[in-house]
């Protein structure tokens, strides 16, 4: 083995060890608790700077005027909504194949965040459509497939909530996640096919070549901000789910013992 191969091997082993370590609930919980505040902070910084660029620095588009500013939140949200589905599908397949509990929980924690971004994408798209298309709802291919995506997210959340046994719920909902993963490209294609059949091209929120170079910085900053937000929210939600499921387990009590003692002391002081 050459030196480089050895290095790659070491990196691979380390990554694998981290993956296995994060599969253990106490480690994951501690990891999530330490990392998520930093991710939230990074989100806040990128968000503030990105919105400052989007609303004040970038000049209005020559075609769409100020409505193009909606794009800076619409497009990153749409990207993230789709990316979250991909991440959720990967986690769900790991959960189904290797039955790793943490991936089950994380896959299920993806759904509400994905639904939130899909909702943002739909509402901002609709608001943008009002001055551009003259209607609040246009049966545009992208908006329509986003609407279907929202229903898929809602279906996954509803199915996950409908079982008493949380692990069983996560595994069965994972099957639905994978069925959706196969169907989403087909749905997108069919809707595009349908709109070309029924109407001509409409103006696109993100036209093929209309992306001026001055529009890139806010788009990038907000995209990065949303990535941080997803990471933070995913860790927070997964940790909550984990704590709730493992309420009676030893590790939860051990992890929260310090906080409980502190609180009990303040209570005792109040009583005295």
């Amino acid at each position: 083995m050459s030196h480089q191969d050895e290095q790659v091997w070491v990196i691979w082993k380390t990554l694998k060890r981290w993956f296995h370590m994060l599969g253990s609930p106490p480690t994951f919980s501690r990891f999530a608790r330490t990392v998520s505040p930093w991710l939230w902070a990074a989100f806040a910084i990128c968000l503030v700077y990105g919105i400052y660029l989007a609303l004040y620095v970038v000049p209005p588009d020559y075609q769409q005027s100020d409505t193009s500013r909606i794009m800076y939140i619409h497009v990153p949200s749409a990207w993230q909504a789709m990316l979250i589905y991909v991440i959720m599908a990967v986690l769900a397949s790991i959960a189904l194949i290797w039955r790793i509990r943490m991936t089950e929980i994380m896959a299920m924690s993806c759904a509400p965040i994905g639904a939130a971004f899909t909702l943002i994408c739909l509402v901002t798209g609709s608001i943008w459509g009002r001055p551009m298309w003259g209607t609040w709802w246009e049966w545009d291919a992208r908006l329509t497939s986003m609407l279907v995506l929202l229903f898929i997210y809602i279906g996954i959340m509803a199915l996950y909530a409908a079982f008493d046994d949380r692990r069983k719920a996560a595994r069965i909902a994972s099957v639905l996640v994978l069925a959706g993963a196969v169907n989403i490209p087909i749905i997108h294609f069919s809707v595009e096919w349908w709109t070309t059949l029924h109407q001509g091209q409409t103006i696109r929120l993100l036209g093929e070549s209309s992306l001026h170079s001055s529009m890139m910085p806010p788009l990038l900053w907000l995209t990065v901000a949303i990535k941080f937000m997803f990471g933070a929210a995913l860790l927070d939600r997964s940790r909550n789910e984990l704590l709730e499921q493992d309420q009676s387990k030893q590790w939860v009590q051990r992890e929260l013992e310090g906080q409980f003692d502190a609180r009990q002391q303040t209570r005792a002081a109040d009583h005295a």
């Binding site: 189904l96 279906g155 069965i172 994978l178 069925a179 959706g180 749905i187 096919w193 349908w194």
Partner: protein
């Protein structure tokens, strides 16, 4: 040795049962005609409007009709314990699952297909589009049954299963509806509808090959 295979035995039993419960079996058909009568009453009887809407209406009616009996698809077998026996021993369960899917299609889709020409004529669909309509129903309804069965299998042991079914089915039947009604509309305009039919067929084949695996997995997980 005249031992019948589980496939044929279950198929025979399901069909016999459905003949005995004729009232329940005819429900999808009744549903189709309820839609065919109610929508013209709602939108007005203009023949142009109706013939434009006919493909979509018949397909939406077929879709909703397929949802009717879905809640009960595996429930009886779950309650009396037969479902567990599907997966016991060397049996992979696919034979029984196939039989159940075929019987569901025969009971809920076939009557709708047989009576769809009548519905189409009542809705003023041009006669030359009629063969294409029947063809789309023949190709598309098996996929409809498969998607519905997956939803039924996923929600088998949930609290309040019935309410979840439409949410799970609706997104997955979007391509089906688009390709099928597209084909019929084009045929009604007198143009070639082969691309749509091809896509519809591809969608059904994809579902036929992948759905049984997902349905079986969902059923087994619900039994755990």
């Amino acid at each position: 040795m005249a031992k019948t295979s589980p496939f044929l035995a279950l198929l025979k039993r399901d069909i016999k049962l459905s003949i005995r419960r004729a009232g329940e079996t005819l429900l999808p058909l009744f549903f189709l005609f309820a839609v065919v009568v109610l929508i013209p009453l709602g939108v007005g009887p203009g023949p142009n409007l109706l013939s434009l809407m006919a493909p979509g209406m018949i397909w939406v009616a077929a879709l909703l009709a397929s949802l009717l009996a879905l809640d009960q698809l595996f429930r009886g077998d779950l309650d009396d314990g037969t479902l567990e026996q599907w997966f016991i021993g060397p049996s992979s369960g696919y034979a029984q699952l196939g039989a159940r899917l075929i019987s569901h299609w025969l009971i809920s889709a076939l009557p709708v297909i047989v009576f769809s020409p009548l519905a189409a004529i009542m809705l003023h669909l041009p006669l030359e589009a009629l063969p294409v309509l029947i063809l789309t129903l023949l190709i598309g309804t098996p996929a409809l049954s498969l998607i519905g069965s997956l939803a039924a299998a996923l929600t088998l042991t949930t609290r309040g299963a019935g309410g979840l079914l439409p949410i799970l089915v609706f997104p997955m039947v979007v391509p089906l509806l688009i390709f099928a009604t597209g084909a019929v509309s084009l045929a009604a305009e007198g143009t070639v509808s082969n691309p749509h039919l091809g896509l519809l067929l591809a969608f059904t084949i994809l579902n036929l090959s992948l759905m049984p695996i997902a349905i079986r997995a969902a059923l087994k997980m619900n039994l755990e």
